[in-house]
């Protein structure tokens, strides 16, 4: 395996995801990574059900997927990527996530200042024009490079 700084951005994100036990337990997968733009997906699993009557996916699954996707977009808005801490996250649940369908999340860091990243994110089943949820979040840069390779200059 190449050193972190020699990996492509997608390899870096996949490596980072592989080190997040909660994301791995949920089954979060990377689809595409650009600078400050991340597209992920989580396949449906029975354990994600939040409403035993309807079988709908728990809103908390959306929260976890959005937090991880938006946080990663914030980290990869910097080059080299820098770790961030979530300050706040607001999620609007526009409709339900149905059993058997995957949930995609697309996050975009639309503004990064020296200390703060502003990220919007949408979650959808198959069609980005029909979102399940929309989200806004603020993330604080920690000053640490993601690779663990020391402080930001």
């Amino acid at each position: 395996m190449p050193a972190f700084q020699d990996m492509t951005r997608e390899e870096q994100v996949r490596f980072f995801f592989s080190r997040l036990p909660h994301g791995v337990a949920l089954g979060v997968e990377l689809i595409e990574a650009g600078q400050g733009r991340i597209l992920t997906r989580v396949p449906f699993s029975e354990f994600m059900v939040g409403n035993p009557v309807t079988g709908y996916v728990h809103g908390g699954v959306i929260t976890a997927l959005v937090d991880q996707t938006a946080g990663t977009a914030a980290m990869f808005a910097s080059d080299p990527p820098e770790t961030v801490a979530t300050l706040d996250l607001r999620i609007d649940h526009l409709t339900v996530a149905r059993a058997g369908q995957p949930v995609h999340a697309f996050a975009e860091c639309y503004k990064a200042t020296r200390h703060i990243c502003f990220v919007r994110c949408i979650a959808y089943a198959e069609d980005r024009n029909h979102p399940i949820a929309t989200s806004m979040g603020c993330f604080m840069k920690t000053g640490q490079l993601l690779a663990g390779g020391g402080e930001r200059k």
């Binding site: 997040l20 994301g23 009557v53 699954v61 976890a64 937090d67």
Partner: protein, 153 residues
């Protein structure tokens, strides 16, 4: 399963908290439990490797904390029989105040305003020291008044 509220009502009369929580696959996945203590409903999520989001610090996954708070709010509303059906999350807004350490985490909910259709709920989480709040959330849930169900049937 057709009628979640009657299961909850029975669990409540028998103070069978585990039975109420067992209804929800995603709450089981996270290991969420609760009990009544000095007149308040106390929720907890035991530490487990699969709720870690940052293995280096290490810290709990922000999404797992968010999901925990959301489920606590849903169960709080159900347990207090504020709705004839499972409340639906409309929006969920989380403020992260400090990293979640690799320990058990606790939550308590407060119904700030309970209308006919919508409840505004605030949630607070902490770990070993209740004064040191890890995260807070504010959420709106859509409720189903009992008379609506009667009208439909």
């Amino acid at each position: 399963m057709k009628d979640i509220v009657s299961v909850i009502r029975k669990a409540r009369s028998e103070r069978d908290y585990a039975r109420a929580m067992a209804l929800f696959p995603y709450a089981r996945f996270l290991g969420i439990g609760f009990r009544e203590e000095r007149g308040e409903l106390l929720f907890h999520m035991p530490f487990h490797q699969r709720i870690i989001g940052n293995p280096v610090m290490p810290a709990l996954h922000g999404g797992a904390i968010g999901a925990f708070m959301e489920h606590a709010a849903i169960m709080h509303l159900l347990w207090n029989m504020e709705s004839a059906m499972q409340p639906k999350v409309v929006d969920f807004s989380i403020d992260y105040l400090r990293p979640g350490r690799p320990e058990d985490i606790h939550a308590v909910c407060r119904v700030v305003r309970q209308g006919q259709r919508v409840a505004n709920v605030s949630v607070e989480t902490w770990q070993s020291n209740r004064e040191q709040v890890v995260a807070t959330a504010r959420a709106h849930f859509l409720l189903t008044p009992a008379e609506d169900l009667e009208r439909e049937s």
